[in-house]
Amino acid sequence: MKFGKRLKQQIEESLPAWRDKFLSYKELKKLVRQISSAESCVEYGKADAEAEFVHLLNNEIDKFNVFFMEQEEDFIIRHKELQQRIKRVIETWGPNGTKPSEAEYKDEMAKIRKDIVNFHGEMVLLVNYSNINYTGSLAKILKKYDKRTGGLLRLPFIQKVLQQPFFITDLVSKLVKECENTIDEVFPVEQEDEEEIVKEQREAITIAGKGIFRNTVAALLSMQEIRRGSSTYGHFSLPPMDLPDSDLIHSFQLNSPIPIV
């Protein structure tokens, strides 16, 4: 499947609010085609077109940065809130709390668990967003540009991109890890018959509709596809991805209108 289509699919699977925050790959591709077809024109025309291209790219990058940083800020706030919430619940309804109540405790913890997992998911999706825009879109479109127009735009530009806030996902990754730790603490250690668990999981997933989970699965599979190898595989391309449990993940694509082949 062509990259453009795959990107589109990813975007469709993504959270509604994010859909217009991705790179306008199609538009830029069109522009590149225009530029390359008009190559016979004067040097001046070419430089102009390049300037336009760069200008558009810069706008896109700004868009990413803004969106990314806003989300990041939100995550920081929510992360703290979650932790405080957990503390509160433990202190109030926990076994040693002020009003110990097993029922309430369980209830609240269940809610918290759900929220945390979704929160974790969202953060990971943001990292994924950053990655898609970088690898999938920017790098690709720049490569296309250089290839089509013989320009040398890619290398210096990409260097600049590497320093953009939206690409520096360290903080979010850190939050993700902290979240994982918290989750480990919050989730009960249960032992159950393995078969039963798997069956429950399948059922649960069958019912799952759109959402974070779906988006995550789509993201993983897309990544795998993108790295399967391209016609222009070279030293700047990523090697094929190693995704364990790939089959299991493929099986999660239920109710998918556009099958991720």
Binding site: A110, I212, H235, L243
Partner: protein
């Protein structure tokens, strides 16, 4: 939250709205800005987002404080339109609020607000200069969570008749001010004037990004602007104009928050008595952080309030939209176990994605690093060869010099490969790389070749890590 009697909201709200020429009752207030925004901005070339109305009203967002380009600014208009709607209400209801709260009007709102009155009704224009003049890129958040506002129905359109009545009854005197204000705005910038004229045409959609930029200027706003009363506002307007030209590019770079910063923020807020009571100004003072502006604090405070308000009343906004775990729980098994397991599974998948992302990212960084290094070596070599050419006294430089002979063909090959932009399957740089490898070997430099080889090693390493990951995974799954 401050308690505001509904009646007063109605009245002042109406006056505010009508001053903006936003006709119709309060019910249309929310929708009008958004519809107009959508209408007026449709033709903007680089804007790709047309946020849904619902989104606008339900997700007040902090405004990015940076104004990098015209398009960027306009983009902010979109994102801040929700803020705008709520700003509108807020300003209308709290005339005596601290200015810090009022100033966060979006600068872009000037465009919106200005466009609205002009396009709406010429006869019943009300001066409410403070609203547009009080513009900031920030959205002061305190009212966003006010239930009063949230209750405003988002319905449609403009009923000018209603507005005019209200206007006449209440703000007759303000008409003069409006004239003054309009004049001042118009004298602000000729381009702005032309935009105004365009706007006067019904539903003109040909707003240029310039408009937004102009908007940014006058709006840099008067932090001092707080009153909703016309007279002080007029004065402040006069103040606005001179400064507007000075503040051409409001320097509000996007702030990147960190957990530590947030901790300090929370501390300050708690000291001030909680998120509801704390004011941006107070928080800013307490935090004592360099480079932090009140706009940053304001937007952050808004987000903070939203985050706290929602989880207490619901499970958290995003969860509602996003996951259907609730569906699972209702359809699912009697035991809580099922849900937990499903959650665990979701976690696993998420973790996996995260891992892969990290790997990918590291790879990318490495690749680019290598590329940079290669480029640097290439440049070095090039300059080295140039020096040789220069130093050689032989007029037929490139061909004759014995020293240069070896490198020259390679060098020219490299150069030509660059100029011709070889469209090979492996790419230009790859070509250059192989050239460099050859040339470096010729020159006796082994480093280049090794560096090039390193890249391959990195990629090979990817497969090496997989067994580790697999082991890790099986551990988790146990």
């Amino acid at each position: 939250m401050e308690a505001r009697p509904a009646l007063s909201i109605q009245r002042s709200g109406a006056s505010q709205l009508s001053s903006l020429g936003v006709s119709g009752g309060l019910s249309s207030s929310l929708s009008i800005p958004s519809t107009h925004l959508e209408g007026t901005y449709q033709k903007l070339p680089d804007i790709q987002q047309v946020p849904s109305e619902r989104e606008l009203t339900t997700r007040p967002q902090a405004h990015a404080t940076r104004v990098p380009t015209n398009n960027g600014v306009v983009g902010h208009i979109f994102s801040s339109s929700s803020g705008f709607s709520s700003d509108l209400h807020y300003s209308s209801v709290l005339p005596n609020e601290k200015h810090s709260r009022n100033s966060p009007f979006i600068s872009q709102s000037l465009a919106d607000t200005a466009s609205l009155p002009l396009s709406q009704s010429s006869s019943s224009l009300l001066p409410q200069p403070t609203i547009p003049s009080c513009c900031n890129k920030e959205n002061s958040g305190s009212w966003c969570t006010d239930p009063d506002f949230l209750d405003f129905p988002v319905s449609t359109p403009v009923q000018s008749g209603q507005v005019e009545n209200i206007q006449r009854s209440e703000d007759f005197s303000k008409q003069n001010d409006w004239q003054e204000w309009a004049d001042q705005l118009i004298t602000c910038d000729d381009a702005l004037t032309s935009n105004w004229n365009e706007l006067l045409v019904d539903n003109v959609t040909n707003l240029e990004p310039k408009m937004a930029c102009q908007v940014a200027k006058p709006c840099t706003t008067m932090p001092a602007q707080n009153q909703q009363l016309p007279s002080p506002s007029v004065e402040s307007l006069r103040v606005v104009n001179p400064s507007s030209s000075a503040n051409n590019a409001p320097a509000k770079p996007r702030m990147r928050w960190t957990p530590e910063l947030h901790e300090a923020f929370v501390e300050a807020v708690n000291q001030l008595g909680g998120s509801e009571r704390a004011t941006p100004k107070g928080v800013l003072k307490l935090m004592k952080v360099d480079g932090l502006t009140i706009y940053h604090v304001k937007s952050h405070l808004q987000k903070y309030r939203t985050a706290r308000y929602r989880p207490e009343s619901s499970e958290g906004s995003s969860e509602k939209k996003l996951t259907s775990m609730e569906e699972i729980s209702s359809l699912d098994l009697k035991t809580g176990m099922g849900i937990t397991e499903a959650l665990r599974l979701q976690m696993e998948v998420q973790k996996r994605l995260h891992e892969q992302l990290e790997i990918q990212r590291n790879l990318q960084l490495r690749i680019e690093e290598q590329g940079r290094y290669l480029q640097m070596m290439f440049e070095k070599q090039k300059s080295g060869l140039d020096k040789l050419k220069v130093s050689s006294s032989n007029p037929e430089n490139p061909a004759a010099t014995s020293d240069a002979t070896k490198e020259a063909p390679t060098k020219s090959e490299l150069e030509s490969s660059q100029r011709d932009h070889l469209d090979s399957g492996t790419g230009t740089v790859n070509n250059a790389k192989s050239m460099l490898e050859r040339s470096s070997r010729e020159m006796g430099g082994e480093d280049m070749a090794t560096e090039a080889g390193d890249l391959e090693k990195t990629k090979a390493r990817v497969s090496e890590t997989s067994p580790e990951q697999a082991a890790k995974r099986s551990r988790i799954e146990e």
